[in-house]
Amino acid sequence: MLKKKNLFILIIGYLFIGSSALAFSISPLKYSAVMSPNSSKDWEVKITNNSNQASNFTSKVFGLKQDQQGRSVLEKNIDIAENWFKFPLNNITILPGETKTAIFNVEVPPNTPPGDHYLGLTIEEQGEGALLAQLATALKLQIAGEAREKLVIENFSLNRKIFLIKNG
């Protein structure tokens, strides 16, 4: 029916049925922890459905970085620790006004080098529309171990001449 050469070209963007509001909250805001290689731990995030209808929520883990203004930005595949997580309860249905807990299980692999990992434990509301709402609990995960700092002088130069005086 429609052809490119038609005078009236129909371009339909964002055709999704439904416009119900998405509203939920999570707690806590931040976690900070020290873990050893080859250890595991559960993190809990409480979800409250503030909308007037039952909603499904899923959990994911994103890397968490700061931009030049110090603002927190979530992004996938920027931290190897994103792959250490499992989700025992990955699909939760919550009724209006109800609060449930999502569990994030992390297993730090053996031989993981010491260092810091910044992550977002995210809760995403699953809807029928094209816009999805997501909240995150920030997690600073520090892997314990002996830190070996290496400092190498790669180059050294001076703009001034140096005179050495030999005594005697």
């Binding site: 052809k3 038609n6 009236f8 070209i9 129909l10 371009i11 339909i12 963007g13 964002y14 055709l15 999704f16 049925i17 439904g18 416009s19 119900s20 509001a21 998405l22 509203a23 939920f24 909250s25 999570i26 707690s27 806590p28 805001l29 931040k30 976690y31 900070s32 922890a33 020290v34 873990m35 050893s36 250890s39 595991s40 731990k41 559960d42 809990e44 503030n50 968490l64 931009d67 603002r71 927190s72 930005v73 979530l74 992004e75 996938k76 569990i103 977002g120 995210t122 029928e128 529309g129 094209a130 816009l131 999805l132 709402a133 997501q134 909240l135 995150a136 609990t137 920030a138 314990a144």
Partner: protein, 211 residues
């Protein structure tokens, strides 16, 4: 080694008695997100700074288990508080576009948080494709071209012009606690006369996290 076992036994007795649980400790009035075993710490202060420190959180670090109980212990801290995201709609529609006619569709995102470090709202994921992304700061079809972009307005809005919809795009932020802080997201599109006909759609994830 004996000391670690002793600490583990104390932990088992205090925290995981009488049965193993994966849940945090809670009662009718209280909820303990994360517990720790410390033996020291205090509040120190000077003219400019306050410090609340603790000692001993790492003592029982590691996994301990018996037939009935399991402890996954380690130093941890949590900032208790809440963050709420409320979207006025879960979809927007441009309808049928006419050539060289700007079409907009908007929604309101409301954020509440008692975080002392504030929040950032951004786009964490985008899938699908729409018209060509705006590159000159204004979706106006200049040069008879198609353009698609996103503007934001509100006290916390992160930028003032029209920009391309992309992952990691910061939409709004605040450096302190906020109450019902609204940011309007205005999606804009304009098609050219030679734009290929068809249905275009995108899925966008809006995320909020504390700073």
């Amino acid at each position: 080694m004996r000391f670690y076992r002793l600490v583990s036994i104390i932990l088992l007795s205090l925290v995981y008695w009488p049965q193993m649980t994966w849940a945090a400790m809670s009662s009718t009035n209280y909820y303990v997100y994360s517990d720790t075993l410390d033996f020291g710490g205090e509040v120190s202060s000077s003219t400019s700074n306050n410090l609340q420190d603790s000692i001993g959180g790492d003592l029982a670090e590691g996994n301990s288990s018996s037939t009935s109980y399991q402890v996954k212990a380690g130093y941890q801290a949590a900032e208790i508080g809440t963050i709420t995201l409320d979207l006025s709609s879960n979809s927007i529609s441009f309808g049928t576009l006419s050539a060289s006619t700007l079409v907009t569709s908007s929604l309101v995102a409301t954020v509440d948080t008692n975080s002392e470090t504030g929040y950032t709202m951004s786009i964490s994921a985008v899938s699908g494709s729409l018209l060509s992304a705006v590159t000159d700061g204004t979706v106006d079809g200049s040069g008879s071209s198609e353009e698609y972009g996103l503007a934001v307005s509100g006290a916390d809005a992160a930028y003032a012009n029209d920009v391309a919809v992309a992952s990691s795009l910061v939409l709004a932020s605040n450096s302190g606690a906020v109450s019902s802080k609204q940011t309007t997201l205005i999606f804009k599109a304009i098609r050219a006369s030679n734009t290929t006909a068809g249905a275009y759609s995108q899925s966008i994830t809006l995320t909020a996290v504390v700073n």
